[in-house]
Symmetry: C2
Subunit: 133 residues, 2 copies
DNA sequence: ATTAAATGATACCATGTTAGTATCATTTAT
DNA sequence: ATAAATGATACTAACATGGTATCATTTAAT
């Protein structure tokens, strides 16, 4: 079981990279070489972060990326949700229908509680927290 | 994102079903029809639970399944781990190598903390808890 | 003994997701 | 005009998921 996919992992690392550079732009090539991750894959990831206004991109020679918002405004939860959709332990759909049995609902209650804890913990950790020190 | 796969969901429901029946055996056909889930898939699931000694199976006519251990000894964590492997937010492997950068290690620390919370919460909920009431 | 009803063991398969690659278009500094 | 950068998009191999299908074996009941 692995909850966080590769793109989220790369996105977080890339954001940390960019956040550490106080001024100027960071090109995909630089980030990719710094993190030693595949450049074309990283491009796609940064394009998504750009569309979501988490980073700003600048095209053309000398272009690159910088953060669009403060690193303490970007949480793990934000990045995960962006690439993997809403955080959920169990979607609890049953052929597009809802929980027909009481015990399943009871299971759902238990899972919902744990899910809320997870989400709040993932919300609490920001890019700033990760690059601190 | 959906953390719990279908087989785990079915396994938990099936265990609840079996646990509720105080005495005697429960056949796959009965459980499948009670839960309205596909019989052949459920068979495979119960065979795994049997191999892991969570249920006991009895072959032949009149056969079926019963719990092998107390319902309060079976946690959500147990079932998830059995079908989906160790619970992990991020395996943190990087082409089979370990975290070459400090910031990644820092990310790992943050994730490990949340992972531990998740595991302990999932360990704390048992089949008994789910069928209670 | 025979048969029906149950599980055990496996092999198979369609679909979707993951983790990328590859290209062409566009923008911009020089 | 050119090189260097991102934008958009299409494609793909490998694996995971959520099953189905079969045959073998065991056991209760007749």
């Amino acid at each position: 079981m692995n909850l966080i996919t590769r793109d989220v992992d790369y996105a977080i690392r890339a954001l940390c990279c960019i956040a550490k550079k106080k001024e100027g732009l960071y090109s995909v090539a630089e980030i990719a070489s710094c993190l030693k991750i595949p450049l074309p894959f990283l491009r796609k990831i940064l394009q998504i972060l750009n569309k979501e206004n988490i980073v700003h991109s600048y095209k053309g020679k000398g272009g690159g990326f910088k953060l669009a918002i403060d690193p303490d405004k970007i949480s793990l939860s934000d990045v995960i949700t962006l690439f993997q959709g809403p955080i959920s332990l169990n979607d609890h759909t049953f052929k597009r229908r809802k929980c027909p049995h009481i015990k399943e609902c009871n299971l759902k209650k238990k899972l919902d509680r744990i899910e809320k804890i997870m989400v709040s913990e993932l919300k609490a950790v920001t890019i700033r927290d990760i690059i601190r020190h």
